[in-house]
């Protein structure tokens, strides 16, 4: 018996999935329905589902952001009405996706696809590549969702002072402190708006608006002094990039 969660903010949309799942109730059991991403995260921790039906557009955090925050991501069948970036991501990476409104036949196909995969393949981490693609969506560039303990924190990108590499993680520094995110520096270099953020060093990305001063430091290197007083190393190549962004 596989455990299933339905995560969608529209009650009627959850109902359709419930209804379509009826014929499969020998193999699939719905553990819970969730109305938003926060509930979703809790329910995933609690029930350790094998499969989730996940809507993309949801309150506060969207489906992708929710997945980013889950440690052991289950298999996902996305359900969405319209989102060109999401669809691009699904086409290449998801188990399957259903475009609302979907027919029972289409739904059955998705379930069969999942069931055949689930028996053959062990669950790896199928979601990484998908999330990378989904992160190309402009909506995803405006904020970063992180988890601190059991709480979810949404950081609008304009609140970011700088980012620093931290082993396999990236530390995001804001006026409220720093937050760890399980992503690479090059991911942030690509997704953050290049007009406002510059990768000034192999291990640092800085918000240009936060810089108050740039001092020379040792040979070829510089130090960027931020409003908060933080001193960020700027490499030779980073200095060139920074000058470009600042237009000097």
């Amino acid at each position: 018996m596989k455990r299933v969660l339905i995560i969608d903010d529209e009650p009627l949309a959850r109902m359709v999935v419930q209804e379509y799942l009826q014929p499969f109730n020998n193999e699939l059991q719905v553990m819970q329905e969730c109305g938003d991403g926060f509930e979703g995260i809790k329910a995933i921790m609690q029930h350790q589902p094998d499969l989730i039906f996940l809507d993309v557009q949801m309150p506060k955090i969207n489906g992708f952001e929710m997945l980013e925050l889950v440690e052991q991501a289950p298999q996902v069948i996305f359900t969405t009405a319209f989102d060109e970036y999401a669809i691009k991501a699904f086409e290449t990476h998801a188990v399957d996706y259903l475009l609302k409104p979907f027919s029972r036949e289409r739904f059955n196909k998705a379930i069969e696809k999942y069931l055949s995969q689930a028996t053959n393949k062990p669950v790896t981490k199928p979601n990484e590549a998908l999330l990378e693609t989904a992160a190309q969506s402009p909506a995803q560039h405006e904020r970063i969702v992180v988890k601190t303990g059991t709480k979810v924190k949404i950081i609008p990108v304009q609140d970011i002072e700088y980012l620093a590499a931290d082993d396999d993680y990236v530390s995001i520094f804001t006026s409220e402190g720093s937050f760890l995110k399980n992503k690479t520096m090059s991911f942030f270099e690509q997704t953050l708006d290049a007009r406002h953020f510059a990768r000034v060093h192999r291990s640092y990305i800085v918000s240009v608006a936060q810089i108050t001063r740039i001092d020379p430091f040792e040979k070829d290197a510089h130090l960027a002094i931020l409003k908060s007083g933080a001193r960020i190393p700027v490499s030779k190549a980073g200095y060139v990039k920074l000058k470009q962004v600042l237009g000097i």
Partner: protein, 344 residues
């Protein structure tokens, strides 16, 4: 096209008539100095031909090129040069046609007068041409400008209207799909609401303002659909007295505002959401206020700059040629947008 060509032939006729009259006048004048009609005619025709050529030249120049404010002096110089050239041609050409020595003397004596009258004639021609063509250009510009504006307005309004969210449409269809299974009556009702709503967005004529009552009825269809989609999470409050409901506003103006309010209200918070719409008439303005809750901590920066607000601003500007009809406020986790519609 035919009107412009007849206009041109009329102009040519006027030009020829003017030339003939000028020639006749000059023949009479020279004859009155005691020369024979024959000599007077030769003299006049020989003087008027270069003068007409000069006039034609200056008129043609001004048709295609009007001097800017600073270069009228160039035009003056041109007139002087052309008048000089005409006089010069007469001075050296006429003695070849008329060998009478009295006439040659008369020619020398009258040179200054000839130069002056030539200058006056060419200058007059230049002035009339200038005024005429500048006016023509202005008319043409105005016509083009208003046409461009009309086009831009149509295109823009069309685009703004096309912003009807596909997201909304597909999700509504999905809700209907769900209802068909266990509440077929409600499914049917929702199909009718959705159809009425879509029809309402299509048939509206932008030029014609509608009473608020009508706009609210249309809005209500939309809100009812959204309430089915989001269930108990979405509440609405609408207040509008009798006076307001007759006030006029451009059709579908409130739609994107309320759409935005719902979007931010529902996607920025997780609890119940109340969208309130309040209308009042205040010294010759219909004031409509739409409020939605939002989360100050996580609100996306597009708040206040997104399609909703700037689109409304642009539309009101196009319709009323005025800025400042849209205001937004954010406090205590409530986002308020206020629009003012001038009442005739």
């Amino acid at each position: 096209m035919s009107t412009t060509s007849t206009l041109f032939s009329k102009l040519n006729l006027a030009f020829a008539t003017g030339g003939l009259a000028w020639t006749a006048l000059q023949i009479y004048t020279i004859h009155s100095f005691g020369f024979s009609w024959y000599i007077a005619a030769i003299d006049s025709v020989a003087s008027v031909i270069p003068l007409a050529a000069a006039c034609w030249l200056i008129d043609n120049n001004l048709r295609y090129y009007q001097p800017g404010k600073g270069s009228y002096i160039n035009l003056l110089i041109w007139c002087v040069v052309l008048a000089g050239a005409c006089t010069f041609m007469v001075r050296w050409g006429l003695p070849m046609l008329i060998t009478d020595s009295t006439h040659t003397g008369f020619l020398r004596q009258s040179l200054i007068i000839r130069l002056f009258t030539n200058f006056m004639a060419i200058g007059w021609m230049a002035m009339i041409s200038l005024i005429w063509y500048v006016q023509q250009d202005q008319k043409e510009n105005e016509r083009r400008k208003s046409e461009a504006e009309q086009l831009a307005r149509d295109a823009e309004l069309y685009n703004l209207r096309q912003q009807l969210q596909p997201h909304f449409l597909f999700n509504s269809l999905n809700s209907i799909n769900a209802l068909i299974g266990f509440k077929p009556h409600e499914a049917r009702k929702m199909i009718h609401q959705l159809s009425d709503f879509l029809r309402g967005t299509l048939k509206k004529d932008d030029q014609k303002q509608v009473p608020l009552k009508e706009e609210l009825e249309h809005l209500n269809l939309y809100l009812e659909i959204e309430k089915v989609r989001f269930g108990h999470r979405l509440q609405t409050e609408i207040s509008c007295d009798n006076k307001c409901s007759e006030a006029l506003l451009p059709p579908l103006l409130l739609q994107p505002i309320v759409e935005n309010a719902i979007k931010f209200g529902l996607y920025d918070t997780t609890g119940e959401v109340t969208i309130s719409i309040r209308a009042e008439v205040e010294d010759k303005y219909l004031v409509v206020m739409v409020q939605n809750p939002y989360d100050q901590q996580t609100a996306r920066p597009r708040h206040g700059t997104g399609f909703g607000v700037s689109g409304i601003q642009r539309r009101l500007y196009l319709l009323f040629a005025r800025n400042g009809l849209v205001e937004t406020y954010q406090n205590d986790d409530i986002f308020t947008i206020m629009i003012k519609i001038p009442q005739a």
